[in-house]
């Protein structure tokens, strides 16, 4: 088994996300997915506060407005709850690079994985079969299950969402490399938050817990 440090993870910096959705659009384009199919990478927007020109605004007690975009996809969890519940072993957390893939030939569309995933990442297409982010191992739903390990590719292709992120907010790579790029706070949270995705602390009025906030079935995975 490859070292956990070699498993690929996503990194997200909400301070650099400009909420433009280029990640979602480039994902759909790369995988040839219809516009109205579910998003494998989803951008949500989280708003609170009061406009300062409002009559209700009280400079002493109210927060100014926060409107924070969050981009999330399948986090390729090291403990992959989706894999654990899959009755046909269609879902695999790959030893080689840590990417969680689905073999649609084995998928029976039972949706257990959708129930098990705390982030709502698995969704189901017209054929009733599970589909989700494969970190661009290959193109299209269900692809990449047998693809060569990213760690064995000479110049591993970056996920399209990473390549097209205008603000440079999304990165992907082996955990050891991503942790090096992260701030200490982000790395510590990654360790204490079940090591799923590295998220930089949001430098806003309040340090919202972005992962918990974004990663609900209502907000993630469409």
């Amino acid at each position: 088994m490859a070292d956990r440090q070699d498993h690929w993870v996503f990194y997200f910096d909400p301070n650099r996300c400009i909420g433009c959705h280029a990640c979602s659009i480039s994902c759909k384009q790369f995988h040839g997915r219809d516009s109205d199919a579910d998003d494998w990478r989803t951008v949500t927007h989280h708003e609170k506060g009061t406009h300062p020109a409002s009559e209700e605004y009280d400079a002493d007690t109210s927060s100014p407005i926060e409107n924070v975009p969050i981009s999330m996809s399948c986090m390729h969890c090291h403990d992959a709850p989706c894999e654990e519940v899959c009755p046909t072993e269609a879902i695999v957390k790959r030893d080689s690079d840590g990417i969680v893939t689905i073999d649609q030939d084995k998928c029976i569309g039972c949706k257990y994985c959708g129930w098990a995933c705390p982030f709502g990442a698995p969704t189901y297409g017209d054929n009733g079969l599970m589909s989700k982010c494969n970190m661009c191992l290959d193109q299209g739903p269900g692809s990449g299950a047998g693809a060569e390990s990213k760690n064995e590719q000479d110049n591993p292709i970056q996920p399209n969402c990473v390549s097209d992120c205008v603000g440079g907010a999304i990165k992907a790579g082996p955990e050891k490399e991503m942790v090096k790029e992260a701030s200490q706070a982000a790395a510590e949270r990654f360790k204490s938050n079940n090591e799923r995705v590295i998220v930089e602390p949001f430098q806003g009025e309040e340090n919202l817990d972005m992962v918990e906030h974004a990663a609900t079935p209502d907000n993630a995975g469409d």
């Binding site: 959705h21 280029a22 109205d36 927007h45 406009h51 020109a53 409107n67 924070v68 603000g167 440079g168």
Partner: protein
């Protein structure tokens, strides 16, 4: 989500587009039966330069069987990256170029309107012959000087040669001054810093003011957004956003100034007041390089921060803090300004007062300040043209300057035409025809009057990729290839490389889809047909080039480059000659007061305006809110759409709906943002269809109630509406994607000096009664 079975899907599209490309290569025509012919050939790469907003971010296209299957950025690209060794990307509208290329909603064949009024498909030869025939008849009946050149953002530079020099029309309406940011561009030119008084040297800045700009979501090349983020991270730069609405740029800012709309001129004067009073200005620069400081000082003295706070709704302490911060960071302090402060009746003074701040702190052409960007010198048409011809429009005066009917419009001293006045000029028989390219003037101001004007014209030629408000009404429709199907050359200035001139170019990534042609080939086709019909050799001028690439190579000859060389390496750009800061020389003069510019002084006198900076209140030249129309409206831009070019694209529509948290609704048009207080008074909730009405028009769109909106101020995205490139959808979702043309609310409000469309309109909003 609505049922959409049976419509053409992306998957089908890739199959049929692949089939189409194969068929075209064999000289056949599109069968489009959707049989299984998904791209399976070898994957190759090609370059492109994004023309969605015309700012040339580099594209890398992945092509399979003649179909673009993926699109991404070019690393290190001057417009699409943050500079050397940084990744190039594409924004959502740039990514949509993939969908646009293979969009089955495009115009696929040339069309000519019959005498009985129906548009019929013709082949290109017939289209060119008919175009020449009708242009000749038009010149005989109306005079070619009454033909309006409304061509925009072409991937070739020969439009002007065809319509002005060869056909002989002096009437030219361009996007920049009339509908984009006339006051910003023209004041910059007159004050001495050129129209580039809008893009600072972000990466080297320590203090950036986004003044009426949402730089992170509405940029002129992605380097702007990237540069701001870099400045914050690398320099610890302070970012200030001045905007009535809360935007993503406000979100990332250290200071957000939620200013009362149209009061930017007062804020700028108050900042000058603080900077002058506290002697924080650049005395050496003001002494040696400026003119009219006393007049400026007097105007600023009349606007202490407390008075500006009353006018702007801001806090006097915040005004002082920002003024000091800006001046103390200077010269590494830049103001980014563009449309937000320009698209108002008092936009002239707002931009004059804002631009004046640069002269005051001496940040001109200094690192991190207002950079005087330079273009590389490619060869002009005159330089590459080896044949003589007679420029026919040279001595013709535009109607606006020539006829007494327009003597009440001060704009005639500055500009040859104004967007809002075209319908009146059509009524007066001074404009009788139009050629429109890649643009929809029906969305740029007084929409209803423009629609009538287009319908009244004797000849309407549309060169476009989509059926829109103009092409649907045109006599001649020439289907244009889109950018990835064309050879392109971009000669930029502002970029992520503040010390280099640069150039970017690419050969067509794929063949023109269906029966379309690049604009260069369309124009040369028209010219050849005109040569045939008129027997005038001037029209043979383009025959010296066999292709657009050959013409581009001639343009590049001054740089000792070819398109092949630009396109064949790892990137599709070249950094050229290096240039330093402060190249303006000892004799450079920055003008605070414009009394030396006689055309402006005359126009200003007629408009009742001073030549020096001054405060002019909202409503002086535009709308004031009233009991009947108590809300102020203006339109805004979205990172998802560009000027009507890509509003038909489902991916953008759907993500736009998701961004607005209304994707579960069938509606896919633009949204009206209003504050909870204004919504509550009217019984409006998010997701309601509402009617917005001004004294001259109305329309329906979907409301979003949000604290991001300023009380009393409502906004919506521009570029949508009944003249859109859609309207053909069969289900509610597709039909609603038209949204509302916000310019149906507009009358003829404008900045009196440049004729810039004033987009601040007094309105009211009511529930539309729909769901």
């Amino acid at each position: 989500m609505s049922e959409r079975e049976g419509t053409l899907t992306r998957r089908n599209l890739l199959k049929t587009a692949g089939a189409a490309a194969g068929a075209a290569a064999l000289g056949g025509c599109l069968s489009g039966d959707g049989t299984d012919s998904a791209p399976s050939g070898e994957l190759s790469t090609a370059f492109g330069n994004c023309w969605m907003c015309s700012h040339n971010c580099g594209q890398k296209a992945y092509v399979q069987d003649g179909t673009v299957v993926n699109l991404t950025g070019v690393d290190g690209h001057p417009r699409g990256s943050a500079g050397p060794d940084t990744e190039g990307t594409l924004c959502p509208k740039g990514l949509a170029q993939l969908d646009k290329t293979h969009d089955p909603k495009r115009i696929k064949e040339p069309h000519i309107r019959d005498e009985d009024g129906t548009l019929r498909k013709v082949d290109w030869e017939t289209a060119f012959e008919e175009t020449a025939k009708r242009l000749v008849a038009f010149a005989e009946e109306n005079g070619s000087e009454t033909f309006l050149d409304a061509t925009s953002w072409a991937e070739t530079s020969i439009f002007r040669t065809v319509w002005r020099d060869l056909y002989g029309s002096p009437e030219r309406i361009s996007r920049g001054i009339h509908v984009c940011a006339g006051p910003t561009f023209v004041t910059g030119g007159m004050m001495g810093v050129g129209s580039n008084n809008r893009v600072p040297d972000y990466q080297n800045s320590e203090y950036i003011i986004a003044w009426g700009r949402n730089i992170l979501n509405s940029f002129a090349g992605q380097f702007e957004a990237k540069g701001v983020l870099e400045a914050i991270e690398e320099n610890g730069a302070t970012l200030v956003t001045i905007d009535p609405q809360h935007t993503i740029t406000a979100q990332k800012s250290d200071e957000w100034m939620p200013i009362e709309p149209r009061t930017d001129g007062a804020l700028a004067l108050a900042m000058a007041n603080v900077i002058i009073e506290e002697e924080l200005y650049d005395e050496e620069f003001v002494e040696n390089h400026t003119y009219g400081f006393e007049a400026y000082r007097e105007a600023a003295a009349e606007m202490p921060p407390e008075e500006a706070a009353e006018i702007t709704g801001l806090d006097a302490d915040q005004i002082r803090r920002v003024a000091r911060g800006f001046a103390e960071a200077a010269p590494q302090a830049g103001i980014s300004v563009w449309t937000g402060t320009a698209q108002a009746g008092n936009g002239w003074k707002a931009t004059q007062n804002i631009t004046a701040l640069n002269g005051l702190v001496g940040n001109i052409d200094r690192p991190g300040g207002l950079r005087l960007w330079k273009y590389p010198a490619t060869a002009s048409f005159g330089q590459v043209c080896e044949e003589d011809y007679t420029p026919r429009a040279e001595y013709k005066e535009p109607a606006l300057k020539k006829y007494d009917e327009y003597s009440d419009y001060p704009v005639r001293h500055i500009e040859g035409i104004a967007h809002n006045l075209v319908p009146e000029m059509v009524d007066n028989d001074h404009i009788n025809g139009i050629v429109c390219h890649h643009d929809d003037p029906l969305k740029d101001g007084n929409a209803d009057a423009w629609i009538e004007a287009i319908e009244a014209m004797d000849l309407v030629i549309s060169i476009d990729a989509y059926w829109n408000g103009v092409s649907r009404r045109a006599d001649i429709v020439l289907p244009e290839a889109t950018q990835l199907e064309k050879d392109t050359l971009g000669t930029g200035n502002w970029s992520a490389y503040p010390n280099h001139k640069w150039i970017t170019g690419s050969k067509a990534a794929v063949d023109p889809q269906w029966n379309t042609k690049p604009d260069f080939d369309i124009l040369t086709g028209i010219a050849d047909a005109m040569a045939e019909r008129t027997d005038n050799d001037d029209w043979t001028i383009f025959q010296q080039w066999d292709s657009h690439e050959e013409y581009i190579d001639d343009q590049l000859s001054t740089l000792d480059l070819t398109l092949e060389e630009l396109d064949s390496g790892e990137t599709n750009y070249e950094l050229l000659e290096e240039y330093d800061y402060e190249q303006y020389g000892e004799d450079f003069t920055f003008r605070f007061d414009l009394d030396q510019v006689s055309s402006f002084a005359t126009a200003a006198e007629e408009a009742g305006m001073d030549t020096a900076p001054e405060w002019i209140s909202p409503g002086t030249y535009g709308d004031s809110t009233s009991e009947e129309y108590p809300l102020e409206f203006t339109d805004v831009r979205s990172v998802f759409f560009s000027h009507g070019s890509n509003q038909p694209h489902e991916r953008l529509q759907d993500q736009f709906a998701k961004r607005n948290q209304l994707s579960e609704e069938d509606y896919r048009g633009n949204y009206l943002y209003l504050h909870p207080r204004d919504a509550e008074e009217r019984g409006i909730e998010t997701g309601d269809l509402v009617t917005i009405e001004s004294k001259s028009g109305s329309g329906d769109l979907m409301a979003i109630v949000t604290e991001r909106a300023r009380p009393g101020f409502v906004t919506s995205q521009y570029g949508f509406g009944q003249t859109s490139a859609i309207t053909t959808g069969e289900d509610a979702r597709e039909r609603s994607a038209d949204g509302m043309n916000t310019m149906t609310l507009h009358d003829t409000q404008m900045d009196p000096i440049t004729g810039q469309v004033d987009r601040h309109i007094a309105v009211d909003v009511t529930p539309a009664g729909g769901d």
